[in-house]
Amino acid sequence: MRTCIVGGGLLAYFLSRSLLSKGHSLTIINRDREECEWFARRLRAVIVHGDGTHPAVMEDADSAAADSVLAITPHDEDNYLICQIARLKYGTPYVFALLNDPDNEGIFQELGIASAYSSVELLSQLIEQRIGYDAVTNLTPLADGKANLTEVLMPQDSPAAGRAVQELEFPEGCLIVSILRAGRAIIPRGPTVLEAADRVGVVSLPESYPKALAVLIGDRVV
């Protein structure tokens, strides 16, 4: 996969490192000469010094050969133009724009740049998903950190309420180990029926955790 990144800073650097480790062959366009030299010393990538909104610079970077162009400068309008040059001039199959103004997501899609994401929007979604849901507490690592113990407060509309533990479509790699109900601790067996407002202790492998959570609290989080 040939990827062209237009932008700079640590964002471009760490993104490049991540893509290089996944086997992308990489070109970076950056308009700051010193930063270009810094990149060139640290990354196995082709570094092009210039402004990516100038078609001639995109040409120098051999953008025609790129499978994807990622525009991650701090200016939305520059990211727009970089993507449009790639689409209109080279027919680049995949273009991506980083947006600074979250209001622009819809607009960019209207203008034909489907993959446009605002970092503000992504971050707030991540926060909501990972830590924003206050029904999930006590993330304790177990087994050398390879498994976790989590407590989940079952909401009123929990799809698991009124069902026995053994009926739940729980994924492999997780187990309900405790229930706190009205101040009383229960160590459940298969026939134990869950109720709304139970605080349920779950031991899980990281990859099974989102599914387990979905079984207990519905789709609101994952």
């Binding site: 100038h54 078609p55 001639a56 449009q84 622009n104 203008l111």
Partner: protein
Amino acid sequence: MARKKFVVIVGCGRFGSYLANRFSAEGSSVVVVDPDPESFTGLNSDFSGFTIEGNAFEFAVLEQAKVGKSDLFVAATEKDSTNLYCADVAKTHFKVPRVVARVYDPELTEIFRNTSIELVCPAVLSTDRFFQSGS
């Protein structure tokens, strides 16, 4: 009586202010947008339109300028990317009937040739003029 023509111009440099003065003198309603309030000193004393201080690439600013109601939108800032972006938003989102963008880089006029944005490139215009005058 025919409705007054409504023109939105972003960028109040030499080109933008010159255009704004002309349209205003012709009796059009004009709104000019520029982030620098000093730039509005380029408008004539009898300029009858409105000025908005703001960045044209901000969607909220374009909405404030009532781009959706305009008959003509001209993007005349100093940056090609800003001009093309605003022009595309005016055309595609706000469905403005006539949209013009000034671009400095002649190559961009080629790349955007098949879009419905009218492009004004000073280098191309003066070169064409030069060859037309029979050099």
